[in-house]
Each structure stands twice: as structure tokens, then as C-alpha cells.
Subunit: 443 residues, 3 copies
């Protein structure tokens, strides 16, 4: 599967589609500002035409932060006295420290060392290093490459610009039946890395297409493609009031592309609707998913859940940032993520959204157990399968007291959300059970 049309016919192969996006965007040297960030946003806009690309100028005050100068880079290399390029940005854009200022000087090997970054414990990996808020320059190289440097002097060249410009982000609002919103936030500021981070935007893009394809949406969707940290601060500075009013659940989409495990990181409050949904969805997909704590946070949830902002935002991931050896190195590449891994990430988030969309608070309108037989709602054949279905149905009905949503009921009776939803559907259709929306999310 390659095309958007293929995807729209079969979201069970979204992983391939996402993988192709990652392949195409992998070479771009994104940062928190600059041309390649804009090109990345334009790429997604070409798939999602409703997406608006917004900008704020350098110097813009975003809550406690200030948007830095825009950074662009043309070329960067280190060459020895014989003009051999021993390091070249063209070969891997991780070779340059992000936001490096321009440089063109000859340094002794010793002087050079203080501008080099490598990982002794991972000698073949190029690390990812940035210096957004302090002027600096440097090169990142594999330790084994560094160990080979033996010339007396090196010529360091970085042709970059750090100048007033703008910071960009993409915003896609997909309306639903109500103005209550689900927030999906992903970040587009990382250069050539795959799980962290092209998996997030790719899966967010596929999810957006899936959400648009839904015939019925209870929730409106706010999907944002932003630079990490400064982008969420900018976005919050402009939208915090409406978000606090409308967002019922949110997810930061990051690290959803490999196939090693599933992970959950809670909101700061820990018990929001987003958390409950994430725990249920992951528990259904892989009971061995890893449960991190708020102390392990590290992405835009830091802003969304900060005191006074307090949005109900949780994370559903595959291998979590910081926690896998390839993290923030050149080893987080196209081999680390896979169509299967991405499909798993897509499925986990899709399940969260599906649960949210289907979640209602059911209340039975009959006192005592309903007589289902007379309504044809009781299986006419009694087999082990129907026994199980009936047990689920009667268990679910017994909790339809108007104080629990389907999610709570499914947790209470130890069934999947889908089983409970399916079991109660006929009774809802028969108007034996009435439903109300689970927002404001008070449980």
C-alpha cells in the first residue's frame, strides 16, 4: 500500500502508509524553525488540505518563553589539510549540532575536540544534539570515527543562518457533532530520526485521514503538528482558553513506530479520561504494556499538563523516548521502525479514539432485570458462546445505573470495551437503556 486512496480503503494497513511517509521525510533536516520544518508541514498539508500552517515571528512571547531566531543550514563539513571531508552534513544531517551558528575556521585537533559530540558506549552511533537557546556550534560523530581523527588541524565549515524569521506549526480542526474536542499533538522538529520522531507525525496523519473518514464523529478533533516544547508553548499561548473549555482527552503522539513494546505515560493528574482510555486500550492490545509515571515525562505533556494548564493529556507509545538505546542517535533510523510497528501505534491510538467516540453513560429504564426473551434479545440457542455473551450482557446491564460510563463498566466486569458496547447496543436500540454523554468527564 502506498497511496492515500489505498489507505482510505484499508486502515488495517496504515503502517505501510506511515512507513512511506517516514521514508520520504527522513532526509529533511528539520529543526524547531526553518525551511525544512515548513517543507514538512507542507508535505502533510498536501495530504490533509484542511490543515492550516500558522506562524509566529522570532521574539514572540510564548508563556514564559521567547521564540528564538529562525535557523537554516546549507552545508557543513570538517576537512583535513588535504581537503578530505572527514565529516559531512550531506551524509547525515545529525552531524551538525542543531542551531549551530556559522563557522569557518581552522582548529587544531585539540581545539576541535571541544566542538565534537560522540557516544563512547555506542561507538557507531551519531548522537543528536541541539543548542536552541545558547549560541554554539558543533559536530556530532560516531565515536569510532572520532577515534580516527589524527591530523594536526581541521577546517570546520558550517554555512548556516540564525536570523529573525518565524516559527511554524500546522493545525487541523475536524468538526464533529459536538464542540467537545480530542487533542492529538505531535512534533515535527527532529531531523533524520524515525521513531523519535517521524513516527508521531506519520501516525497522526493517518489517524487524521481515518477520523475524517468516519461517518459519524461525536467529538471534534484538534490535531497539531508543532515543534516540541516551544511549539506547544506557542500553541497554548494562543489557544489555552478554548482548549481548557473543550478538550475532553488528548494524546501526545510520539514514538509510535517500532515493534518492541507498548508504553503508557500518564497525565499529571493520572486519572483523567485520557488515562482511563489509554489504560483500557493498551490493556486490551497488550496486557504487558509498560506503565511509566509522570516522573518519566519528557515531551509536550510537560506543557499540556503543567499546573494551571491541566489538560487531560496522556501518552500511548511503542518504545518510549529515553528508554531505547537507539534514542536520539543515528540508529533511530528506517530499520528501527517498521510498517508493523507503525500499524501497532496507529491501532492503539485508533482504539483510544474509538472508545472515546463510543463511550456513553448508560442508564436502564426498567426496574429489576429486563425480560429480554420477550423482546427477542436473549439468544434462542444456548451454547458456551451465547452463555458468555449473555453473562457479559447481564453483567453490563447490572451496572447501567447512570453513574458509570461504558469504560467504567467494562473495567468493572473485566470485559473489552467492544464486548460491553456490543452487548448493550440492542438494549439501547430497544430503548430499554438510555444514554447520556460522558462529559463533562466527571469520572
Amino acid at each position: 500500500m502506498k497511496s492515500k486512496n489505498d489507505l482510505l480503503n484499508d486502515f488495517d494497513h496504515a503502517g505501510e502508509y506511515c512507513y512511506n511517509i517516514i521514508k520520504e521525510l527522513f532526509p529533511l533536516c528539520r529543526s524547531i524553525t526553518g525551511n525544512e520544518l515548513r517543507n514538512t508541514l507542507l508535505y502533510f498539508q498536501s495530504i490533509l488540505p484542511e490543515m492550516i500552517i500558522e506562524s509566529v515571528p522570532s521574539g514572540y512571547s510564548a508563556l514564559d518563553w521567547t521564540v528564538p531566531f529562525e535557523w537554516n543550514i546549507q552545508e557543513a563539513y570538517i576537512e583535513d589539510a588535504e581537503n578530505n571531508r572527514v565529516v559531512d552534513f550531506k551524509l547525515n544531517n545529525l552531524h551538525v549540532v542543531g542551531y549551530s551558528i556559522p563557522v569557518d575556521e581552522w582548529l587544531s585537533l585539540e581545539e576541535l575536540q571541544s566542538h565534537l559530540h560522540s557516544l563512547p558506549a555506542q561507538p557507531n552511533a551519531i548522537p543528536y544534539v541541539t543548542s536552541y537557546y545558547k549560541e554554539n556550534w558543533g559536530f556530532c560523530i560516531a565515536q569510532e570515527q572520532r577515534d580516527k581523527l589524527d591530523s594536526e588541524n581541521y577546517h570546520c565549515v558550517i554555512k548556516s543562518e540564525l536570523a529573525p524569521g518565524e516559527l511554524n506549526y500546522g493545525e487541523l480542526l475536524i468538526p464533529g457533532e459536538t464542540d467537545r474536542e480530542i487533542l492529538l499533538s505531535t512534533y515535527v522538529c527532529h531531523p533524520s530520526m524515525a521513531n523519535n520522531e517521524l513516527s508521531g507525525p506519520a501516525v497522526a496523519c493517518a489517524l487524521a485521514l481515518w477520523i475524517k473518514s468516519l461517518k459519524k464523529r461525536k467529538y471534534s478533533y484538534r490535531i497539531v503538528f508543532i515543534p516540541e516544547t516551544i511549539g506547544s508553548l506557542v500553541y497554548l499561548s494562543k489557544n489555552i482558553d478554548v482548549m481548557k473549555e473543550k478538550v475532553v482527552s488528548g494524546f501526545v503522539l510520539t514514538c509510535v513506530g517500532d515493534d518492541r513494546c507498548y508504553s503508557y505515560l500518564p497525565s499529571r493528574a493520572g486519572n483523567t479520561l485520557a488515562d482511563r482510555v489509554a489504560l483500557k486500550a493498551l490493556g486490551e492490545i497488550d496486557p504487558d504494556f509498560i506503565r511509566y509515571t509522570w516522573l518519566d515525562r519528557g515531551s509536550d505533556e510537560r506543557q499540556y499538563c503543567a499546573p494551571g494548564i491541566d489538560l487531560p493529556v496522556a501518552l500511548v507509545m511503542r518504545s518510549k523516548f529515553y528508554e531505547y538505546p537507539e534514542y536520539h542517535t543515528s540508529l533511530d533510523n528506517l530499520d528501527f521502525v517498521s510498517p508493523d510497528g507503525l500499524q501497532g501505534g496507529f491501532n492503539a491510538l485508533r482504539r483510544c479514539i474509538s472508545i472515546l467516540e463510543a463511550n456513553v453513560v448508560p442508564r436502564i429504564e426498567i426496574l429489576g432485570e429486563p425480560q429480554l426473551g420477550k423482546r427477542g434479545l436473549y439468544p434462542s440457542f444456548s451454547t458456551r458462546d451465547t452463555f458468555d455473551v449473555v453473562k457479559c450482557m447481564m453483567g453490563a446491564i447490572s451496572y447501567c445505573d447512570g453513574t458509570m460510563d461504558l469504560l467504567a463498566i467494562s473495567e468493572k466486569i473485566g470485559r473489552s470495551f467492544q464486548e460491553v458496547s456490543d452487548a448493550l447496543r440492542p438494549l439501547i436500540e430497544a430503548k430499554i437503556i438510555t444514554v447520556t454523554e460522558p462529559f463533562p468527564p466527571s469520572y
Copy 2:
């Protein structure tokens, strides 16, 4: 012990009395309606003259349900071409599917098979099968008997009536000092089975005699002998308002006759006064009692605890319905229950009621520890025994802050309800501690 008078002198031998009731009522072919149900109620009325036998007509609307026709049966058998009765209702009334319509036809063995019920895994057991709400007929036989059927044709005869009539139940109201009520509900619709279900009505009868024998009763008692499910629905349809107002705790009495274990099944809410009492009483009798969950429910608690009804009704049982191999078969017979088993069931419920009757909210009227010595409330000899009594007393006093009932205090200090009750009695008599009633049961 056989007679009611013997029982009234010694409730510690109630098990024998109950066993004799079961023996006498065992042969009757009870169902949810009919003559034998009425005869069973008349039998209990002869012991408990204050019991009123109520009736509702077929077609009566009981919440979501409708009372079916009344069913009576005279004879039923299967005979072969040589007039040998290979199955005969006279030998065991489980042989006929409950509510079987009349039949008198010759069937081929193959045709007959679809009307036979047996249990391959329990080849010597006759299963118990009913079809109250869908017209049907059938025979239940032991698998080993079924395997012997080898004639070509069989003559199936069921002389039954399914016609407008009535549904009956017994209601016994025993007044107490207050109009707050304890509900005891048991069911009388099962034919020849002993633990499930003649043990419930037999123990309910003995408990009613014991309750009547109490010199002082704080609570009024509502004791009902009903057909299961449809009976509780009928009873609720007539009494729900008064029950919601008055019932402080209730118990469904079922499966209280064998001697294998003790079991507890919670109310839907799980933390009502009935639950707290049941847990305490069972914990004192047998710390290894089995704790089921609301998902394991199966009797009239399904109605009493349904959303909107929400009565505080729990179950204290011996071997729970569904959970023992003999359940709903001819093996649940007079050998499965025993006087000792029934005595255990009686004792467990009696302990629940005793705790409820004695439970009060104590409040100490003195600031700081009371000086018990000056009131002669401190043991004058100090031994290991008195040390333990004093420790219990001082522990209990320390929690007499007016927010906990005796039950909560006994849980808090890890003592039996009786120990705590005994320890505080002298202080209550000395008016150092005042008490209030624990209803409305807010903790």
C-alpha cells in the same frame, strides 16, 4: 430434635430441625406456580401462623415481567412398545422439564432424543431443567439411562396443565421496636433438590422462629418465601417503596445446607451494611470463607440490587449455586445436605442478625481516657486474660468518637463483634458511653 418446641428451647440444634423440614418437603414437585408450591407455603404457614400467603393472577405485570400460566402435573412417563416405563416422574420429579406442556405421542428414538436432557459428564445425575417462558416439553434422565434406550419407538406421556391460575408467595412481618427492617428472602420453587433449594426455606423458617423468640428486637423483619426471579419481581412490584424506605440490610437465603465451605456474595454496591455484617460474621466463623463477586450472582439479589432498586442485600451461603458439582441435579439430595451443614448456615445468618441487632454507634461522653478504676470497671486482678479484655476495652473506647458503629470498631481493632460489644457494655450501662442507632446506615 424434631419438634418446633424442641427448637424453641435450643437453637443450637436448629440443623436437625431444618433437616427434617427438608425431608418432608423433598418429594413435592414445586415450581414457580402450582399446587405443590402452595402446599409448601401452607407447610411453612403451619409452623409460622402469622405468615400470609399472597397471590397474583397469571398475566400480572411484575415490573418488566409477566406472571406466566399456572402449571400443575399429575403424571409423566416414557414407555416402550412393551409398556415398560423406562422413565417415570413418580420416581423422581426432576424427570420432567419444569413447565412441560401436556403430551401423549409415540416418537422414534431419534425424535425422542431432542426432548431428552442428560449430563454426559455426570452420567448418574438427572439434570434439573425448566422452560417457564417458552412452551416446551421434555424429560431429564441420567446419561447412563439414556445410553440404554434402544427401542425403535417410545410413548411419551405428560399429564400436565398450563392454564390461567395464580402465583403464590408467603410473607411474614415480625415487628420490632423500630420500623427499620431486615429482609430475609428465600425461594420455594425448586422441586426435589436439597441444598439448592430446600435449605433456604428451612433455615429461613428456623430463623423466623428464633427471631420471634427474641425478647427484644430493634429491627422489624420482612421474611418472604417466593418463587425465584418472578417471585422477587412480583414482590418488589408491590413493595418496592416501603422496602427502599425501611430495609437496612437484607439477605437472600439459599444454599445453606451442606458442610463443605462458607461463601459470601456481595450486594451490587458491595459496601452496604449487609455486606459489612456478612463479612464480619463469616470472618469470625471461618476465615477461609469464599468471597465471590457481584459477577457471580444468580439468585434474587439480581432483582433486589438492580439499578434503581438498590437494596442492601448480600448472600451468606455454604456451597454456592453453580459452584458445586451436584448443583441442579438429582445429586443435590438428602445426602448432600446435613444437620451440621444446616446448623452452620443457620448460625451464620443468626450471627449476622445478632450483630445487626446489637450494632450501635457509641460515643464516649468523657474527654480523655475514663478512669475506670473508680467506677469498678477495671479488673481488680491483673492476669493475662484480664489484660486482653482491658486491651480490647481500651481499644474500643478509643474509637468511640461517634463516627463509627460497633462493627467498624471491631474491624478496626481486630476483635470479634461480641468481644467489642461485651467490652463496652459496662461503660454504656454506666452512661460513660452513649449510643445512637446506626441508621440511616451511612457508613
Copy 3:
């Protein structure tokens, strides 16, 4: 270290100072009244001149209790027919049952036995026995001494007085910036025993000196030296209203002198600020500290936490009363306690008080994470150490939502109180975080 001046320069050697106090006061035959109690109070007054020594007369009504006659003793011995003193109060004041009435009679050995107390299981220990509220007399001796008694008759002499007099206690109020109080209560009624109980008054005295030495005190301190039980009842009878209004946390100081373990005994409520502080402080000092329950109580917490009094008073101890073999015997002597043991007790209580003094409710005044770099609040060098500090700081900041005190935050992020306090201090100084006082202690 011996002198008060030494102590004021180095509270990290308070153990030695306390040990010297214990040595000096050890020989005095204290009881709940009498000259030696007064002398003990005068001793502490000489160190803490602001301490006021109060008195109430015999017969004074203290809540439910009455202050007994004052007891003084000059001499007591048992001699045989040859005038050999086989037991002599001069050698150990535990030899006489506390509050023994005067006696001067010849008894047969058999008659004498009923007036003797010994411990068969600890043959070399003299037990500590009293009879405050019932007139009695007796001698306490080692079992091995008792076994040697073989004369026919013994002359028992106790030269004591039990007569109207007074009960005394010491009260020290150290004012702070607010009128919210920390209560420290210790008891001074035990004769020659060291852990239980001279360690409490000695450590209370050192703590009082340390508290006075603080340049800044948020809380006022109410430090009382009282006879156990009757003293706290007397003190409460006079001060309960002001204490209920002002006391934010309190500790009974007892058994803080040996070096075997640390122990915690909760308030009756179990979750007061005093409990939270005690658990945190002990957890930081020794994660293996022993957690007793309210059922193990035994000192003045019985009064302070009684229903209706309900002060937030917990106990931080070394080896708890009742629980060590030497308890209430002559083996609880100067060998059982040690400067190190006392220093540990002092440190634990000092840590509790330090936490209380530093505990505030922080609220961050910035939405989203603050940009610490621009304020110079972010370490400029990134090392493993600074990483840990930053992680602690960012974790703490993330909980500065105005609903948690520093104590709660430190529990939440699994750091010591000091680490959290240190991490947030620069932000408080920079006014990024504002603080409010954690009282009334509502969490």
C-alpha cells in the same frame, strides 16, 4: 561535650549532653508527685529559665480523673531477724512499689511474698511497679534475690508520706512568627530508668535549646514536662481549648535513648500532619523503622488523641515502650541508653521540626514550564549530578499547583524533603513560585 554552651555550638553532639542529663537525674526517685519530681523540674528550669513550674493541688479534677495525694519517701528496707537489710531502697529506688503507704511490721516469709514483685523470666531484673490509685505497699526485687529469702520472718519498713500536696509540671512556651503551635510533651514521673524514661525529658530539653537557637521560627512551641497520664489530663483540663485551636502537630517524646531501632506510632487519626512528618523524617533516616499502630499506644497520646480531644500527636521513638526486654525494669539503665542513641532520637525529632518549619504550599506563577535558562536557574554544566538536581527540580515544579505542600511533593516524587526544598528555593527567591502556609493543615 558537657556544657549547655558546648551544645549551643554543636547540636550534632546533643546525644552526649542528653546522656549527661540522664546520668545526673538517674538517682532521683521521681513519681507522679513529690519532691523529686519537683527537683527534676527545677533541674530543667535551670537550663531553660523560661520554663514555668505549675502546680495543682491533690483532689484537683482533671477531666475524668482526680489528682491523688502527694507521695514522698525517705527510706524503705526489708531486714531479717539479724537486722541484715536484704532489700534496701537506698541501693535502687525501684525496690519500692511507687506510692507505697508507710509500713513497719514483721511478716512471715509467706506473708511477705504477697508484697513482693519479681520477674521469673528475668531473674536479675528489678521490676518497676506502682499503685497510684489504690492504697498498697510492696517491694520489687530480682527473682534471684527473692529465691534466696529463707528466714522465717522479715521486718518491712517503708517511711513514706501520702498526704494532700500538689502535682507539678513544667511548661515552656517559645514564641514564633505565628501563633500556630508545635507541641512537645514528655514525662518526668519515672524513677531510675533511662530509656523509659529519662531519654524523653533530656531530648526535649536539648530540642528546646535548639528551637530557641533558631534565628527564625514559623511556629510557636509548647513544650511540657509532665507526669504521665495524670499530668497530660491535668494539662489538657487547663489548655484544651487553646491547644485545639493552635496545635498543628505534636509529638510525645519518650524512649528516644537507645540505639537499636527507630519506631513510629501514629496518632489515632493516623493521617495528621504530625504523622506525615514523622513518616517522612523516619523514612529518610532509616527506611527500616518499625511502624506500630494505634493499638500499640501506651503513653500520653492516649489522652492527646482521645475522642473529642483529637490533637495531631504522633510518636517518633527508638525502642518503643513495652517492646524491649529491659522495659520497666532496672535493666533500663545507663548502659541501655547511649550518646549515639540519644543523638539519633534528637536528630529524628529535629528533622520532624525542621520539616514542619520549612513546609509550605508552593504555587508556580507561570503557565507551562518556566524557562529557567534565561534566569540562570538551570545548571550551566550538565553532569550526572546536575542532571539529578534538574530532574528533582522539574519534578517538584510540576507539582507546584497550590494543592500540595512540600511534604506531599517530596512524597510524590520520591525525594527527601531537603532535596525538594533546596530545588525550589531559587524559584521561590525568583518569585516564580509563591508560597502559602500549610495551615490549617487540610491535607
